[in-house]
Every structure is written in structure tokens, then in C-alpha cells.
């Protein structure tokens, strides 16, 4: 479990404060940031933007201090740019609640309601994205796996999280092999859509069947190594944790619960 091939995940090596946090603490932060971005307990849109902006600034500071700001910057643009390019024009022109024209160009009217709606959603997404990048970029995959077992999760669940990451490079190589083999046998990848569609099953079937046939060997290998044993496992890797972090995690979960309860109360009008 220790030597995850580097480059499989987005993880960036580092020794910062964020890197040293327990993975579950970072995960709890993603939850609370999402809950506050989408449902901050405030009544006006302005206050909600303020809450989102504050969260965003906080996340940026944390990303900077962790030394992963450059990688995060690239990823955020890669994910947000297509969203922005679609969302701003589509909602600006066509949002069903559009009333107020801000700009007319050759008969095309851009409306403020749609732009505000798109802007709010983009801001919410970027808050949630930056929080999840704190987790993804600053947590070693092996630490995620260990944290699952240390938190009382089943070692089998840890296997399901960890082993796909280990299998990925080999399976990618196999996919290229199948591609090359079927191409050598005359698979048509350039012709019309129906000729290409014909190639789908011959391409996918050997890949899927080959992978399924391997399962038996893997299962036997696991069973002789005590996969079904009920005794507690010892781990090489220790994931740092502290009473303060445990306390912080519980209060963050309580905050999420609080947000949910607040909206249930407001929406159902229990305290009207």
C-alpha cells in the first residue's frame, strides 16, 4: 500500500500544516464549506455572496500556505473555464427569470437576473472546488486508505479505495495493448459512424473479459493472505490525529447539521 505510483492522483508532495492534518479533518472541511456555500443561514443574496467570498479567501490562503496554489490555479481554470463559457451566455440570454435588460447587441438582449444567477452558482462551485482541492492536493492516497481503517471502517473498504489506484497504470497499459492489437487486425477507426460503431464490441469485449478472468487469481491471493480475517489489522503507516482535530471535526459536522436544520425550519415555516 505504501508505494502508490506517483502521477496517478493529483496529490502534491509537501510538508505544510494542511498536509499534516488528518484526512478526515480535511474532508469535514469540504462538507462544511459546501454546506455554507450553498446554504449559509442568511436571508439576503448579498450576505450569501459575502459568506462565499470569505470562504473563498480562506481556502486560497490555505492553498497558498500549503504550497499547492500553482497546481490549484491550473486545475480551477481547467474546470471553471468551460463552466463560465457556457453558463454566463446561456443564463444571461435565456434564464427563464430574465426581466431587466442590461445590454442589447443586434437584437440580442443580455439580462441581469440571468447573469446574477450564473455568477452566484459559479461562486458556489468555486468555493466547493477550492475546498475539495485542499483535500485532494494535500492528502497522500495511502493516508486516505489508512484513515478509513483507523476511523473504524472495514479493512475491506480500505482495499476498495486503495487497490483501484494501484491497478490503474497496469490497466491503462492493457487498454493500449487491446487498441493496438485490434487496429493491427484491421479495426476501422476512421470510417463512417456505423463502421466505427461496429468496432465497439470487438474493442471492449476482450478488455472486459480479460479483466474479469484475472479476478479469480486476485481473490485467491487475497484469501490466502487473510483478507477475511476478523482480527484487527496493524498498519505501517500512522496517520496523525489530535484531540483538537477530533473536536474540530465534530463541530464541523454539527455545523453542517445546523445548516440543514435551519433550512428545514425556514422552509417548513415552523418558526414563522
Amino acid at each position: 500500500m505504501e508505494d502508490f505510483p506517483s502521477g496517478t492522483t493529483l496529490f502534491v508532495e509537501g510538508r505544510s500544516f494542511v498536509h499534516a492534518l488528518n484526512p478526515l479533518t480535511k474532508l469535514a472541511w469540504v462538507l462544511v464549506a459546501g454546506a455554507l456555500a450553498y446554504g449559509a443561514p442568511v436571508r439576503t443574496p448579498q450576505a450569501q455572496w459575502l459568506a462565499c467570498a470569505a470562504l473563498l479567501v480562506l481556502n486560497c490562503c490555505l492553498l497558498l500556505s500549503a504550497g499547492v496554489a500553482l497546481k490549484a490555479w491550473g486545475l480551477v481554470w481547467r474546470i471553471m473555464l468551460p463552466l463560465m463559457l457556457f453558463m454566463l451566455p446561456i443564463h444571461g440570454l435565456l434564464y427563464p427569470g430574465n426581466r431587466t435588460v442590461v445590454w442589447v447587441w443586434h437584437g440580442l438582449a443580455v439580462y441581469s437576473e440571468g447573469l446574477v444567477f450564473a455568477g452566484t452558482v459559479l461562486l458556489q462551485i468555486i468555493v466547493l472546488l477550492s475546498a475539495s482541492l485542499l483535500f485532494v492536493l494535500c492528502t497522500h492516497p495511502a493516508d486516505m486508505v489508512t484513515a478509513v481503517t483507523q476511523a473504524g471502517g472495514s479493512p475491506k473498504l480500505a482495499f476498495l479505495v486503495g487497490s483501484p489506484l494501484l491497478m490503474l497504470p497496469a490497466m491503462r497499459a492493457r487498454a493500449s495493448t487491446v487498441q493496438a492489437a485490434q487496429r493491427a487486425r484491421g479495426l476501422d477507426s476512421e470510417g463512417g459512424i456505423f463502421r466505427r460503431a461496429k468496432g465497439l464490441f470487438p474493442l471492449v469485449k476482450p478488455f472486459l473479459l480479460g479483466a474479469i478472468m484475472d479476478i479469480e487469481q486476485r481473490a485467491v491471493a487475497l484469501e490466502v493472505r487473510g483478507f477475511n480475517s476478523r482480527s484487527a489489522r496493524t498498519a505501517w503507516r500512522e496517520v496523525a490525529d489530535s484531540p483538537a482535530q477530533r473536536w474540530a471535526r465534530w463541530s464541523m459536522l454539527a455545523a453542517c447539521l445546523g445548516v440543514a436544520v435551519y433550512w428545514i425550519v425556514v422552509k417548513t415555516g415552523l418558526c414563522a
Binding site: V121, I212, E216
Partner: protein
């Protein structure tokens, strides 16, 4: 059969390895079919296979974990759609349990049923988290529906259903074909396989 007995039968060591392999299949198969440049991604083929071979809970777990792992290896946005992937696995498992993977034309019906469940879960996520737009080609269709005077909800429902229908039907067909092509010795190891043949 009680639920705990069912779960025990569904989750053997064999099933755990199947789930782990299927997660990788989901992630890698896109690279494989990109060669053909078809409007099909097959990114839930592993999930559907597990649903058919091992049962609905194992299928659901496969989908859920696939998208969470995707969130770690390429883009956190995938993790937001983890519940959608989970429902695909559960729906495929239930279809198989009720005999809807016995023949190729039943598999097509399963594909349609999977698309319906997929849409029920995907629409609220798209609508409330992403404001109806996710930065993909399907957004042109949403825009067209909006321009025709539909509301955002209706536009997103139609867009999600149509953009997934072909992919899920082809996925179900391929899953059926692979299960049929599996040698009997291997097939016999899976708990769900008798409801297929």
C-alpha cells in the same frame, strides 16, 4: 432471504475483487473507446457489470467509489455525481434480479430503466449545484430547450435523459454480451449470474 443474508451472499472475497477491478474498468474504458470517436463514454460499464454479476448493493458501491476515486485522480467535480453512479449500479442490479438481462432486447429495456433512475438523481444535482449547466456539449441542448420557452427544470430533464439514453442502452447491451461470453467456470463464481442465464 433476510437483508443481512443477502448482503453476505453478495459480498464474498470474489465480489470485493470484482468491485475493485470494475472501478478501474469504469475509469479506463473511456480511453479505450475514445479511439472510435463515438458519442458514447461507457463510463458505467463496470458498475453495470457488477450490478448484474453480484447484485444491486455491490453495483451501487462500485458506482459510488468510482466517482469518489475519479474526484481524487482527475477532477473533484466527478465526486459531486457519485450518487448518480450509485443509482446506476443499484438499478442495473435490480433489473438483473428481475430477469431483465436474459436476452439482448430485455437488456435494451434495462438500459432505458437505468437511464430513468439516472435522470431522477442527476437532474437535482445539475440543477441545484450547477445551475443546470455543466460545461459540456449537452449544454447546447439545454440552451436550445430554454430558447424554446421551457423552464430550466424541464430543459435539464430532457437534456439529461436524451444525452444518457444511447450511452446507457449500449452499456447494458455490452454488459449482457460480456456476461454471455464469459466461460461457465468463471461465471459460476458470481452470485447473481443465475438470474441472467
Amino acid at each position: 432471504m433476510s437483508i443481512s443474508e443477502q448482503l453476505k451472499k453478495e459480498f464474498s472475497t470474489f465480489t470485493f475483487v470484482l468491485i475493485a477491478v470494475a472501478i478501474v474498468l469504469n475509469i479506463v474504458v473511456g480511453q479505450l473507446v475514445s479511439l472510435l470517436k463515438l458519442p458514447i463514454f461507457l463510463d458505467s460499464i463496470g458498475t453495470v457489470l457488477v450490478g448484474v454479476l453480484a447484485g444491486p448493493w455491490a453495483g451501487g458501491l462500485t458506482g459510488l467509489l468510482t466517482n469518489l476515486i475519479w474526484g481524487v485522480i482527475s477532477s473533484p467535480v466527478a465526486a459531486a455525481f457519485a450518487p448518480v453512479a450509485m443509482v446506476i449500479g443499484i438499478a442495473a442490479g435490480l433489473c438483473a434480479r428481475y430477469g431483465l438481462f436474459r436476452t439482448w432486447w430485455l437488456a435494451i429495456i434495462s438500459g432505458v430503466i437505468i437511464t430513468v433512475f439516472n435522470s431522477i438523481v442527476a437532474v437535482p444535482i445539475r440543477l441545484y449545484m450547477f445551475g443546470g449547466i455543466t460545461g459540456s456539449g449537452g449544454d447546447f441542448f439545454t440552451a436550445y430547450m430554454l430558447a424554446l420557452g421551457n423552464d430550466l427544470f424541464g430543459s435539464v430533464v430532457v437534456m439529461v435523459f436524451t444525452s444518457n439514453l444511447l450511452d446507457k442502452v449500449v452499456t447494458a447491451l455490452i454488459a449482457w454480451g460480456v456476461v454471455k461470453a464469459m466461460p461457465g467456470r468463471t461465471a459460476a463464481r458470481f452470485p447473481g449470474v443465475q438470474s441472467v442465464s
